[in-house]
């Protein structure tokens, strides 16, 4: 099963606004792209046309690993508002 299909198994209620914001001026200079390596949901990717880093916040598992892994501090990461985000049924 692909990671996208795995995330589709989860109960997630998405807010209209993202709880993750990226500082593209920092992302633009980053070579390591730690966020891409660590994200268990495979949610980070580089938009080849614009050169921007993109995060699909809608599939976020709320582990916070990207926030810790980005040593350049380009990621502002908060919990989604109450009522939103992933709701684990097993945990």
């Amino acid at each position: 099963m692909k990671v996208e299909e795995k995330i589709a198994l989860d109960a997630i209620k998405n807010d209209k606004e993202s709880h993750i914001t990226l500082d593209q001026t920092i992302c633009g200079k980053c070579k390591e792209r730690m966020c891409v390596t660590v994200c268990p949901g495979h949610l980070y990717s580089l938009n080849k046309e614009t050169g921007d880093m993109v995060v699909e916040y809608a599939g976020c598992l709320e582990c916070g690993t990207c926030k810790i892994a980005c040593i350049y501090k380009a990621i502002t990461w908060e919990y989604p508002g109450g009522e939103f985000g992933v709701q684990y049924r097993y945990g």
Binding site: M1, V3, K6, I7, L9, D10, E32, R33, M34, V36, T37, V38, C39, P40, G41, H42, L61, E62, C63, G64, T65, K67, I68, A69, I71, E78, Y79, P80, G81, G82, E83, G85, V86, Q87, Y88, R89, Y90, G91
Partner: protein, 429 residues
């Protein structure tokens, strides 16, 4: 400002335990949980060792909806194309009181919160706490969604990322070397099949740890626990190790490769995947801990960095329950005395030192540096697998004496200066 006795941020084990004890002491408590219900944002491996916490919450531990009591410990050491498995069982684990149970947090925490409501605690779900309230340089409550709730004391039990500790200015920055990422998958399998497949009697459970080439030399390992009618399969890997890979392999791919191993497929065959989750684990031990109290606030559970990885045992939930109960005792005494100053709240640390929490964290203060040794995940698994390989393999031509073959393998991997240094390092744990 009108104030209630205590606000608890976070409906995990630490927060729930604290609320339970404060309610027992007759205090007014509100518990705020950002998920739809307590447990819905929580992930465990998971198993819980109940002996350390039975005396802290006897009624809860005795009635809790755990999954299975663990009677069988399995360790699987993996090289790229080979593996060895060790199984250890002991009849004493089949007798009550049981030592440890597998657990699923969505079910457990929600049940626990119902027990709190029966005691009159206000458990408010879907409420994310945004900020702290301050009064005379001391924490005096919280802000949540535009509302303010004044409280004489705040217990921050908001998990390993603790935004409350950050806002209070007592948490160290979150650094990659102090945390590991855990990815977990839930597979549905009927009870009888689980029991047959793992060789268990009804109600009994198994725990299987995996180490070796599955983490490509990185700090970490895999786990598999049998729940009542599901399996918890997961992989843990250090965040620092992940971002320092020379040729980066994404974490989700590591998980895919792990679950595709024949050593895993044999257990999950025919099972339907039901959930995919991830969480961070504090691995910093006592070095990674923040200050656990400040004027008007106490930290408990993961928020306080209470977690310990000893390789074969990984613990966090017992510390969460015990620290939650001790935070409640501290808060109760502070409320009775009308003194929630930092000076008075320092008795929390004293209580933690008199319990098992801080002594365990102290005893195993070097466990991280011992376990971070790359050779544990590369050289030793290779050594064990190759040793068995030379002993079991019969090829063309005359076979070398077994002792000679074994020594050749041992010299290649472990009977050397690095091996000696590893043994010296192990003594720190």
């Amino acid at each position: 400002m009108d104030k209630i006795d205590a606000v608890i941020v976070g409906g995990g084990l630490a927060g729930l335990s604290a609320a339970y004890k404060l309610a027992d002491a007759g205090k007014q408590v509100i518990l705020l949980e950002r998920g739809d219900a307590p447990g819905s944002k929580n992930v465990t491996g998971g198993r819980i060792y109940v002996d350390p916490i039975r005396e802290y919450l006897p009624e809860i531990i005795n009635e809790a909806p755990f999954e299975r009591h663990v009677v069988k410990e399995m360790i699987t050491i993996l090289d790229d194309d080979s593996s060895m498995q060790l199984e250890y069982g002991n009849n004493k684990w089949r007798k009550e009181p049981y030592m440890s149970y597998t657990i699923l947090r969505a079910r457990f925490d929600n049940w626990f919160s119902e027990k709190l409501m029966e005691k009159g605690v206000f458990v408010i779900p879907k409420k994310k706490v945004d900020d702290l309230l301050w009064e005379d340089g001391r924490i005096a409550g919280i802000k949540a969604g535009g509302e303010e709730i004044g409280a004489h004391i705040v217990i921050a039990a908001d998990g390993a990322l603790s935004f409350m500790a950050e806002k209070a200015g007592i948490r160290k920055p979150l650094e990659p070397q102090n945390y590991a990422l855990a990815i977990k998958e839930i597979y549905k399998l009927d009870e009888n099949t689980i029991e047959e497949r793992f060789g268990l009697e009804p109600g009994e459970g198994a725990a299987n740890l995996f180490a070796g080439s599955i983490t490509k030399g990185m700090f970490g390992g895999g786990f598999l626990y049998t729940n009542r009618d599901t399996l918890s399969l997961g992989l843990v890997v250090g965040i620092d190790a992940l971002i320092r890979q020379e040729t980066p392999l994404e974490a989700y791919r590591l998980m895919e490769e792990f679950s595709a191993r024949p050593e895993i497929k044999r257990w999950i065959r025919g099972a339907e995947q039901k959930e995919y989750s991830a969480h961070i684990i504090s691995e910093g031990g006592i070095h990674g801990m923040p200050k656990v109290y400040t004027g008007g606030m106490l930290l408990a559970g993961d928020a306080a960095g209470f977690a310990l990885n000893l390789g074969l045992t990984v613990r966090g939930m017992e510390f969460a329950v015990a620290s939650g109960v001790l935070a409640a005792e501290t808060a109760n005494e502070a409320l009775d005395k009308g003194d929630t100053s930092e000076a008075f709240l320092s008795i929390y640390e004293k209580k933690l030192k008199e319990s098992f929490v801080l002594p365990d964290m102290e005893t195993f203060r070097h466990s991280k540096e011992v376990l971070e040794n790359k050779r544990l995940f590369t050289v030793y698994p290779k050594f064990l697998c190759e040793l068995l390989d030379v002993l079991f393999t019969i090829g063309k031509g005359p076979k070398e004496p077994l002792y000679k073959s074994a020594m050749t393998v041992a010299k290649r991997y472990v009977l050397n200066w690095d091996g000696f240094k590893d043994i010296m390092s192990m003594r720190k744990m």
